[in-house]
């Protein structure tokens, strides 16, 4: 935490001294909690990436003497115990554990906290003009539940039987019957960890919703909120209503394993499909939880880079609301092949395709936002526009799998893997990189290095596409997901060179992230000092000092006069106009 300490030196003198522990560890300041989440989730992002690298190695170089593939020992595999890697060869059960933990850690402990734990905490009070969250202590508890949950998840690698290996979707009965999976304690730790994390998210969601509803500064009407805050608001509602259903299901799984109830065990009359319904009823809103906040950040950053108001602000808001709402009635598209009633499949197909409408609204409005702009190509802007370019691919590949008959050959193949990674890495992660590079100066009072940032962006963009685009073709070629050894099947083995190519690209993609890591820590200490408003942006956070002190604006009373995107307004003295600027003589926009 010493890094945080340095960054907050400037904040310290404006306030009475708070003891170190209260200030940086058990802090109730929403900004410190946001930064704590940032360090935690970046750590898990690294762990999740490492797991992926191990998987990719196995996929590229499996040993299959029958098919003439020699295999190569996993680098560093000798450090792992015999239960994971035996004689340099990764065991299939360990591969399955990697698949499971990569998915779980990335979704629940990297992307979710990076989007929500970090930015909802950091941005909401700053963007709505509040001194802190509605429930600061609840906020602290939220972080201090997420942390042990993550440790528990990691610890499950070390227990007898290994970590959970039934996939991040934990389909019953594989997940609940150790006699089939070989995993006892690992799966239980997985369930408990997610229940605890769910609690943490729930506390966060209650806090975010109450704060946004109740604590906006005078003049900050709903339609003057930055789209980041709007997206985080809808995301919080989705979290609030989806997480408890998952928690209920997880607890039932836990009971099935520990006390021997029969919820998901067919022998007792329980239903494996019921778990899938509960999981995806949570899981599909979860997918939007993982993308909506990034959409919000991207809207903020694009408008800032293009020096233009967001195109169709109201439509953008309603599209977020629409995605959030339709997201509740599409979960069955994950279950097209599950043996669910085919009539239901037809229903879910139509609702799923409808999601394309709000997604298209957002995409075209982003295009409209950069159209006619005066674009500044700063690193956050490059990440944000990459988000748009890659989200389009993720959205379009979604149309294939949304169409139920086309999903028949594509379901559970690498096409789906490509689709989810275009949305979650090409979409969410680029949005996150955009957000980190954009708000870093506000968080730590120093600028990140621009040239390094651009190199990182370019390499990430190139290697991301080289890694994930070929997966589409592997999938339509019939390569199943979660496959320990693709060379077992002749129709996949013929494309092994593609798998090797993907692995090399993935290694380079992973390596490129060290540039970001270096830039992040170097800038933390050595970066150029940031001014209050380095990007010349409009929203309220840019009126507070960088970094803002505890309480954000001190005794200053904020009043909001306009929306957050009044860039290049005629009559204004600069090409931006702060929301707090009374600016006499500048005509108010006709609509919101």
């Amino acid at each position: 935490m010493s890094t945080v300490a340095t960054a907050h030196e400037t904040a310290a003198h404006t306030h009475e001294e708070i003891p170190f522990l209260r200030k940086y560890i058990f802090s109730t300041d929403h900004k410190v909690i946001g930064i704590q989440f940032l360090f935690m989730s970046l750590f898990f992002l690294l762990v999740g990436g490492l797991l992926a690298m191990a998987m990719r190695w196995q996929l590229a170089f499996p040993a299959n003497p029958n098919a003439g593939f020699e295999g190569r020992p996993l680098p560093g595999g000798g450090l792992l115990p015999e239960t994971m890697v035996a004689g340099g060869v990764m065991l299939p059960e360990f591969y399955n554990a990697l698949v499971t933990m990569h998915g779980t850690i990335m979704v629940f402990f990297a992307i979710m906290p990076l989007l929500i734990g970090v930015w909802a905490n950091y941005l909401i009070p700053l963007q709505i003009g509040a001194p802190d969250m509605a429930f600061p202590r609840l906020n602290m508890a939220s972080f201090w539940m997420a942390m042990p949950a993550g440790m528990m998840m990691l610890a499950s690698f070390a227990v007898v039987g290994g970590a959970a290996n039934a996939g991040w979707t934990a389909y019953a009965p594989l997940s609940v019957m150790p006699e089939y999976s070989g995993v006892h304690l690992g799966q239980q730790l997985w369930e408990l960890s997610l229940v605890i994390l769910g609690f943490s998210s729930l506390m966060g969601a209650v806090n975010y919703i109450t704060t946004i509803v109740n604590m906006r500064a005078p003049g900050m009407t709903w339609f003057r909120l930055p789209l980041s805050t709007w997206a985080l608001f809808i995301t919080s509602i989705l979290l609030l209503l989806a997480i408890p259903v998952l928690a209920g299901g997880l607890i039932m799984q836990f009971f099935d394993q520990t006390i021997g109830t029969g919820f998901f065990k067919p022998d007792d009359g329980g239903q494996p499909l019921l778990w899938q319904h509960l999981f995806w009823f949570f899981g599909h809103p979860e997918v939007y939880i993982l993308i909506l906040p990034a959409m919000g950040f991207v809207s903020d950053i694009l408008a800032n880079g293009a020096r233009k108001p967001v195109f169709g602000y109201a439509a953008m808001v309603w599209a977020i609301v629409g995605i959030g709402f339709i997201g509740w009635i599409v979960w069955g598209h994950h279950m097209f092949m599950s043996g669910m009633n085919p009539m239901l499949g037809g229903f879910f197909m139509v609702t799923t395709l409808m999601i394309a409408v709000p997604s298209a609204i957002k995409t075209f409005n982003w295009l409209g936002t950069i159209w006619g702009g005066n674009i500044r190509f700063h690193t956050p802007f490059l990440h944000a526009i990459s988000f748009v370019a890659l989200f389009v691919i993720g959205g379009l590949s979604g149309v294939f799998v949304a169409s139920a008959p086309v999903d028949i050959p594509l379901h559970d193949t690498y096409f789906v893997v490509a689709h989810i990674h275009y949305v979650l890495v090409g979409g969410s992660l680029f949005g996150i990189f955009g957000a980190i590079t954009f708000w870093f100066p506000k968080m730590f009072g120093r600028m990140m290095n621009e040239p390094l940032g651009k190199i990182h962006w370019a390499l990430t963009f190139v290697f991301f596409n080289l890694t994930f685009f070929p997966m589409h073709m592997l999938g339509s070629g019939g390569m199943m997901r979660r496959l320990y050894d693709p060379t077992q099947y002749p129709h996949i083995a013929q494309y092994q060179d593609t798998n090797i190519f993907i692995t090399y690209s993935a290694l380079l993609l992973f390596a490129s992230q060290f540039i970001f890591m270096f830039n992040f820590f170097w800038s933390l200490f050595r970066g150029r000092k940031a001014s209050e408003n380095p990007w010349e942006a409009n929203s309220l956070e840019w009126t507070a000092p960088s970094p803002p002190p505890h309480g954000n604006w001190g005794d200053r009373k904020l009043k909001v006069y306009r929306g957050p995107y009044e860039y290049s307004a005629p009559g204004a003295s600069a090409d931006y106009l702060l929301q707090t600027d009374p600016a006499q003589g500048v005509p108010a926009p006709a609509s919101h």
Binding site: P218, T221, V245, F281, I329, L344
Partner: protein, 96 residues
């Protein structure tokens, strides 16, 4: 923008004891209907669920003061109900 906060004295005090009596009578009625009457199964279920919802609504409206809250809070309070119905009805429809 700033409206008066819903103050302690802002709403009338309903007759809590009367509500309590109604709840107790409805509970007794439910048990009676379930065990004494000889209605067909479907009618029985409909009546019992109807009575349970009636009781739940009484608690929400009076004990939880929803009746005296701003319209916005009422809407928020009802928000998850459609989702609850969607989940149960769609999963149930598999068995028809």
């Amino acid at each position: 923008m700033t409206e008066p906060i819903d103050g302690a004295a802002a709403h009338p005090s309903p007759n809590y004891i009367l509500i309590w009596v109604v709840l107790a009578v409805l509970t007794a009625g439910e048990v009676a209907i379930a065990f004494v009457s000889h209605l067909p199964q479907v009618a029985l279920i409909l009546i019992l669920v109807g009575l349970a919802i009636w009781k739940a609504v009484l608690v929400a409206l009076y004990y939880m003061h929803l009746k005296f809250e701003p319209q916005r809070l009422k809407i928020i309070a009802l928000a998850p109900l459609p989702l609850a119905v969607i989940l149960v009805v769609i999963v149930l429809s598999e068995h028809w």
